[in-house]
Amino acid sequence: MFGFALRRVLSALPVALIAVTACFFILRLAPGGPFDGERALPPQTLANLRAHYNLDQPLVSQYLIYIGRLLQGDFGPSMVYNDFTVSQMLWIGLPFTLMLGFTAFVIGTIVGLLAGAISAVNQNKLPDYLLVALVMIGLVVPNFLIGSVLQLVFGVYLGWLPAGGWQNGSLAHLVLPVAVLVLPHAGRTARLMRGSMIEVLGTNYVRTARSKGLGTRLILARHAIKPALLPVVSYLGPGLSYLLTGSLVVEQIFALPGIGKYFISAALNRDYGLVLGTTILYMFIILAVNLVVDVLYAWLDPKVRLR
């Protein structure tokens, strides 16, 4: 198992290097630069700024400088935000993004698995119909709409919860943003769980178990749950990555200090340092999550280990 994990880690390194390199050069191909704002800068000022950020050097040496810094764990300066380095901004924002993503992941996964299993066991009965309807709502309504509606209902009309912000760092501020993130994740998990559970419940070994006279509960616990989980687990990896990296809209609507919004705003501002920093961080999150899922999969399914 350890060897399997190690091989996975080692194979991730060249992937990371290729991604960083591609990202660096693609970004420079885009027209416009970090100092192209609404107002023209005097040429001398522009030259000074470009020199300050090494932008006056050939692209290849800029790339080497960047990689050199990166190897020392330094993401370099932001070209728009002067008072913080990219590393500082990411370290301040990352805990919020991780907390938001993980909380939504845990709640969404539990809710999704339960809903899927209940649906499957009660296939084509009333609880199934109700749950499927709820799941569909979570899946098809875009999160900016759900976010705004929740904000209006619970923040403005009912006044039960804060409509946004992070001022007090309290649990109450977490409820609405997490709810928005939970819905689609729980929906997808539930759909997968329901489908694979129905399939497992129809297999020969479950029928055999039933014919031996085992109770439903025992069949579910002993024979059905583990194999039914397999497709769900393979989704959980991308699902978690999506929650951790896709909180952009939620962070914007609820004005949360996570790193999701830098992903877009930095790209629009051509803040090269911040774009690369955010991308690399996201890349590591995704690689790490995939690694965990692979290991988990190997544990659940011995066939994977042998390959």
């Binding site: 027209p31 912000g165 609507i253 609820f254 705003s265 629009l268």
Partner: protein, 538 residues
């Protein structure tokens, strides 16, 4: 940081915040401040969202009153020499930085030298170019900072020498580029003096916390000379880019002031939040630039026809819904130092819209452009709902006169890169005045300068050029008599607008929403509202 650590950190922070909030009932102003501040260093800032914070924690020689007019700030009094070239400021007694160090004339000298130092690369340094040798130092043609026209006579006396008489100079001093910086601190920590752990100021508030992406917090500074008259104890400047969400949070009572609104909600706000809408014109013009190096836009008649065919009366009230006033001239009404000059009106102002279209159509037909053989125009704008609405409306207005418009939008950096490179036919632009003086907009239309074998057109994207106009702007800069100066600038405006050097469309309006518990918020032409003038009823 692991998940459990994060959870612990957050719950501890939450508990602390709860304790702190119950400990004292401070008067707190919660302001929706827009974007994340790029910097709190007055030499590195560039946006109004930064100005709102910086102007609360640092004060210059001159400050703004509730109407945003210049009043003495750190300077107690000043004298101006006969020729209007030398200003002598006397600093107040006992003024201090928030760490207890005294504010001295040397801090100002140091700040101006830093502002003009090419190494600082300050974007807005040019606002202080009226100061003697300022531009030369910034461009690097002079390198000895002792030649700068800012001198400390003693600890309390500062002397500033100008290049020419500058009637708006006291106003320019209210701009953050003229603020002092704490020399003792910058000497010690350099550019990181504005980092949250270092920052000090000399204004009514001091910065105590900055969570990037969330908020900046400031509390009342007890060392400020006028602290006795400052009512609000704490200010939170919230980062909030999503305007619809901002309005929801305002309605939920989480914000006391909104500094911007979603345009499509303007009507709703006027009806449902009566008395809380502070929508008022302020000094800024929304305009289209026409590339005058490209045919047929080098033809005045074509530019005139394009301008005439725009029905400006419907854009503010109907297309945008916020009630922007139509703009025909280049200098916003209410701009200071422009007394005696009537607002510019084109000769066709008296015609009805139908008559204007008919005339514009005739012009275009004379040049061979009709509905069947239209002039193809590409209109570029930076991606934004409002810019798009205006562009769509104007392209349909132009269709009537034989112009077929292709709309092209791109993100801000790409858009302005194209404008500067001259890679456009018609493009959107806007200008908010840095200080209330006609020269601030008129200089946008001066001919570029040859620098190192290249024409630098600055902000004159359309590359309008008229020697007579340039000469008037130049002689106005040296004119000490305000009436004569205003006349020269007025003549210049007429020349540029008669030739349609650019197409003004509307005057910007400020869109603030202010809760009934706040008093002292006054609509003004600069849309500057310092917290020290506000009070909040609990």
């Amino acid at each position: 940081m692991s998940f459990t650590q994060t959870l612990k950190a957050v719950s501890v922070a939450g508990a602390m915040a709860l304790l702190m909030s119950s400990a004292a009932s401070a008067v707190t102003l919660n302001m929706m401040n827009g974007s994340e501040p790029g910097s709190l260093d007055p030499h590195k800032a560039s946006g109004d969202w930064e100005n709102r914070i910086i102007g609360d924690y640092i004060e210059g020689l001159m400050a703004e009153d509730a109407n945003a007019d210049a009043i003495p700030g750190q300077a107690e009094s000043y004298t101006v020499s006969e020729d209007g070239l030398v200003y002598t400021f006397k600093l107040r007694e006992g003024i201090q930085w928030s760490d207890g160090e005294p504010v001295t004339a040397e801090d100002f000298v140091f700040a101006f030298q830093r502002l003009f130092n090419p190494a600082t690369a300050s974007e807005y340094a040019y606002l202080q170019f009226p100061i003697k040798n300022g531009s030369e130092l910034a461009e690097g043609s002079i390198t000895d900072f002792n030649e700068l026209g800012v001198k400390a006579i003693d600890d309390k006396t500062l002397e500033i020498t100008l290049e020419g008489p500058t009637p708006y100079f006291l106003q320019a001093l209210t701009h953050y580029t003229a603020y002092p910086v704490p020399k003792h601190l910058v000497d010690k920590v350099g550019d990181s003096w504005t980092a949250p752990e270092n920052i000090v100021g000399n204004g009514p508030y001091k910065i105590t916390e900055w969570v990037p992406g969330s908020y900046v917090k400031a509390v009342k500074s007890e060392t400020y000379y006028d602290a006795a008259n400052v009512q609000i104890d704490e200010v939170n400047y919230f980062v909030q880019d999503d305007l619809a969400a901002a309005l929801a949070r305002y309605r939920a009572g989480e914000y006391d002031i909104l500094t911007d609104i979603p345009s499509d909600q303007a009507e709703w706000i006027k009806t449902n939040l009566e008395g809380q809408d502070y929508f008022a014109p302020f000094l800024g013009v929304y305009y289209y630039v026409i590339n005058q190096e490209k045919a047929p836009f080098d033809n005045v008649e074509v530019r005139k026809a394009l301008s005439m065919a725009i029905n400006r009366d419907v854009i503010g009230p109907d297309v945008l819904g916020t009630g922007e006033l139509p703009a025909y001239g280049w200098v916003p009404e209410g701009t200071a130092n422009y007394e005696g000059v009537a607002p510019y009106q084109p000769e066709w102002i008296g015609l009805s819209y139908e008559e204007r279209v008919a005339q514009a159509k005739a012009i275009m037909e004379g040049l061979g452009y009709t509905a069947s053989t239209p002039l193809a125009v590409q209109l570029k704008y930076n991606t934004n709902d409002n810019h798009q609405r205006v562009a769509v409306a104007i392209s349909s207005m132009w269709e009537q006169i034989g112009v077929k418009t292709e709309l092209f939008n791109s993100e801000t950096a790409v858009h302005y890169d194209a404008l500067r490179a001259g890679d456009f036919q018609v493009g959107r632009a806007g200008w908010l005045l840095d200080y209330s003086d006609p020269s601030n907009t008129l200089e946008l239309l001066t001919t570029g300068i040859m620098q190192e074998g290249q024409m630098n057109w600055g902000n004159n994207y359309g590359r309008y050029s008229n020697p007579e106009f340039d000469a008037l702007i130049k002689s106005a800069a040296a004119e000490a008599d305000l009436t004569a100066r205003a006349k020269m600038l007025g003549d210049a405006e007429k020349i540029a607008m008669d030739e349609v050097g650019a197409i003004p469309i509307y005057w910007y309006i400020a869109q603030n929403v202010v809760a009934p518990s706040i008093t002292g918020f006054v609509n003004n032409a600069k849309d500057i509202h310092r917290t020290r003038w506000l009070t909040k009823a609990e």
